[in-house]
C-alpha cells in the first residue's frame, strides 16, 4: 500500500515541482467573435468560460448517453489543460521511445494499420490481440475523433496518440470486453496517464447494474489501479514497433500482472 501511495505521488510530480502549469491558453485574452487563427487543422481556440461550459456539458451529456464518443473525447480535451496534458507530454519527452514517438508522430488508422496483416500475425502477439479485439467489438481504427480543443499542437498530438492507442491498451491489459471492463480500463488509464477524463469516466459505475458494479469494484478496479500506478507509462510504448512482440513479454517489460479473471 505504501509503495502504491509513493507511486501515485511520484506519478503526479508534486515533489519534483509541477512541470510547468502553463496558463490555460497560450493566447492573449480573446472573445468568441474574434478567435485567433487555428494552430493546426480543425483547431478551435476556446476561451476559459467556453472550455468550462464544454467540460460540464459534455460530462453531463455523455453520462446520460455513453454512446456519444465524441462528447467523451471533447470532455477529455476540455479538462486536459491546465497541467495534465503538459505533464503527459513531458513524460513522453523524458523517455527515449516517447521522444521518438513525438518526433515521428505516427498515426493509427486503417491506412497505417493493415487489418489483414495484423490478423495474419501469430496468436499471442500484440498485433494479433489488437486485431482480435477490434473484430470482436466490430470497430475499425478509424472511429476516433480528431483533437480540436487543445491549443498546443504537440500536446494535441499527445492527446490524439492516447486516443488512438486506447484499443491497444485493451489488448495489453486483457481486461474483458464487458462494460465493467471498459470502465476498469479507464481506471487503469487514469492511474497511468492522469488524464482527468479517464478519472471522471470512473463515475460511470453509477450506471451499471448491481452485479456488474460489484464485479467492477471488487475485481477489476483494484487490479486496474494497482497496475496503473506501478506499471511504466503506457503512453511511451511505440506500438507500431511492438506489433510482433509477445503480449506476455510486453506485459512483463511494462510491469503488468496477469489480467484478472
Amino acid at each position: 500500500m505504501g509503495s502504491l501511495v509513493r507511486s501515485a505521488i511520484g506519478r503526479t510530480g508534486i515533489l519534483r515541482g509541477f512541470p510547468r502549469i502553463v496558463s490555460a491558453s497560450q493566447f492573449a485574452p480573446f472573445t468568441s467573435p474574434s478567435r485567433p487563427p487555428p494552430n493546426y487543422e480543425g483547431h478551435v481556440p476556446l476561451t476559459i468560460p467556453e472550455r468550462g461550459l464544454l467540460a460540464m456539458g459534455s460530462a453531463v451529456m455523455s453520462l446520460l448517453n455513453p454512446r456519444r464518443g465524441d462528447l467523451i473525447a471533447a470532455l477529455g480535451e476540455a479538462t486536459a489543460t491546465p497541467y495534465f496534458i503538459y505533464r503527459l507530454r513531458d513524460v513522453m519527452l523524458s523517455s527515449p521511445t516517447g521522444r521518438k514517438i513525438l518526433k515521428d508522430r505516427p498515426r493509427i488508422n486503417s491506412a497505417t494499420m493493415s487489418m489483414e496483416r495484423l490478423r495474419s500475425l501469430p496468436d499471442g502477439t500484440v498485433g494479433r490481440e489488437y486485431a482480435a479485439w477490434l473484430d470482436k467489438e466490430g470497430v475499425s481504427p478509424d472511429t476516433r475523433s480528431q483533437v480540436r480543443y487543445i491549443d498546443d499542437p504537440e500536446c494535441a498530438y499527445v492527446m490524439q496518440r492516447y486516443r488512438e492507442c486506447h484499443d491497444f491498451y485493451h489488448a495489453l491489459t486483457g481486461l474483458p470486453i464487458v462494460v465493467e471492463g471498459e470502465i476498469a480500463l479507464k481506471a487503469f488509464e487514469f492511474a497511468n496517464t492522469l488524464i482527468p477524463m479517464t478519472g471522471l469516466s470512473m463515475f460511470a459505475v453509477a450506471r451499471l447494474k448491481p452485479e456488474e458494479r460489484r464485479r467492477a469494484l471488487t475485481t477489476y478496479f483494484p487490479w486496474a489501479i494497482r497496475n496503473g500506478l506501478q506499471a511504466k507509462e503506457v503512453i511511451n510504448i511505440y506500438w507500431e514497433e511492438e506489433l510482433e512482440t509477445d503480449v506476455k513479454e510486453l506485459r512483463k517489460r511494462i510491469g503488468l500482472e496477469k489480467p484478472p479473471e
Binding site: 468568441s32 467573435p33 478551435v44 464544454l54 456539458g57 462528447l71 480540436r148
Partner: protein, 310 residues
C-alpha cells in the same frame, strides 16, 4: 384581366402601422449605411470563377450550394431541437407572428390562395399556413407548395405531413433552387414566403428576382430572417452568445460544431434591415412601409414586398 389585388387584403389584416394603399408608393430612397460585411470580390482575378462567402470562408460560387446542402443534410434530423435550444423556443413565437400577420387563406368573397414556401423543408411555416387558413377563414382549399434545395429536409417535412394528417391535396413538397424556381410558372403564386432560408442562398438578388417572377401582380413576398440588433450593448451580448454558445450547443446536442459555426457566421454576414429592404426594391418589388418589422430587438425581422400591378 386584373386579379383583385390580394396585397391589400393580406396587409390590411396586419395590426402594423405600415398599411399600403392600392397604388404602390415609391419608398423614399434611404442612403444605405456602408455594409461592413461586404461579400468578397465578385470575380476572383486569378481564376475566372466568381467567389462568394460561406459564413466567414470564401468559396467558389458553384460550391456554395453544395456546402449549404451538406450543412442541412447534417442538421435535418435535429433541426427542431437545435432551433429550440438556440432561441429558447422563441423561434416558434416568431413563426406564429409571421404567419398571423400574413393572414393566409381565402378572403371573404375571394378565391383560395396558392402559397409558395421556399427553403421550408421541414414544413414549419407550411403547416402553420394551412392551420391558419382553415381555422380563421374556414378555407380548406388554399394550397402550399413547400420547396427546398435539400431533399433530406423535404423528407422530414413529408414525414410530418403524413404524421399530422395533412391533406396531400393541400400541401406538396418539391426540390427547387430558390435562385431559379424552374418548375414554377410565372405569375402563379399569391404569397411567397421564405423563413430563415434566404441567407443561405448563394445569389440573393437572383432569388428575389425569381420571387418577383413567380408572384402574381399584387402578390406578396414575405421574408423572415435574422437581422442586425440595433442596440450596441445588446448586440455585444448577442454576438458573444452566438459565437460561444451556439456552436457549443451544436456540439453537445447534434454532435456537429462546424454546421452551427457556419450558421452563426451566415447570420452575421446577412445584410442589415435597410440594406435588404433596398435589395427587395431593386428586384422590382415594392416595400411595405419602411420595408421591415423588427422582432425581439432586431434579432429577427420580417420584410414584406408587393409585386406591383401592371
Amino acid at each position: 384581366m386584373s386579379a383583385r389585388p390580394l396585397s391589400r387584403g393580406l396587409l390590411s389584416a396586419t395590426p402594423s402601422k405600415h398599411l399600403c394603399s392600392i397604388a404602390p408608393r415609391v419608398a423614399a430612397l434611404h442612403s444605405t449605411p456602408v455594409n461592413l460585411n461586404q461579400p468578397p470580390l465578385k470575380n476572383d482575378q486569378s481564376s475566372s470563377e466568381p467567389v462568394t462567402h460561406f459564413g466567414f470562408q470564401t468559396v467558389k460560387e458553384s460550391l456554395k450550394a453544395t456546402r449549404v446542402a451538406e450543412v442541412f443534410s447534417s442538421v435535418a434530423s435535429s433541426y427542431d431541437t437545435m432551433n429550440d435550444v438556440m432561441s429558447f423556443g422563441i423561434h416558434r413565437l416568431w413563426k406564429d407572428h409571421f404567419v398571423r400577420s400574413l393572414n393566409p387563406g381565402r378572403r371573404p368573397g375571394g378565391r383560395p390562395m396558392s402559397i409558395l414556401d421556399v427553403a421550408g423543408g421541414t414544413g414549419d411555416i407550411a403547416f402553420r399556413m394551412l392551420d391558419h387558413s382553415e381555422k380563421v377563414s374556414g378555407d380548406r382549399e388554399t394550397t402550399v407548395l413547400c420547396a427546398d434545395i435539400n431533399a433530406n429536409m423535404l423528407r422530414e417535412g413529408e414525414k410530418r405531413a403524413i404524421q399530422n394528417g395533412y391533406d396531400p391535396n393541400r400541401i406538396s413538397f418539391r426540390v427547387e433552387n430558390a435562385e431559379t424556381l424552374e418548375s414554377i410558372p410565372d405569375s402563379s403564386i399569391d404569397l411567397y414566403t421564405i423563413s430563415f432560408g434566404i441567407r443561405n442562398v448563394t445569389r440573393i438578388p437572383m432569388a428575389l428576382k425569381s420571387a418577383h417572377r413567380v408572384l402574381k401582380p399584387g402578390g406578396v413576398f414575405a421574408c423572415l430572417e435574422f437581422s442586425k440588433v440595433s442596440s450596441a450593448p445588446l448586440d455585444a451580448i448577442y454576438q458573444q452568445y452566438s459565437f460561444s454558445v451556439i456552436p457549443l450547443m451544436g456540439q453537445l446536442v447534434a454532435g456537429d460544431r462546424d454546421s452551427y459555426q457556419y450558421l452563426v457566421e451566415s447570420i452575421k454576414r446577412f445584410p442589415s434591415q435597410l440594406e435588404f429592404a433596398r435589395m427587395i426594391r431593386d428586384a422590382g418589388l415594392v416595400n411595405v412601409g419602411k420595408g421591415y418589422e423588427e422582432l425581439t430587438f432586431g434579432v429577427a425581422s420580417i420584410w414584406k414586398g408587393v409585386k406591383p400591378l401592371e
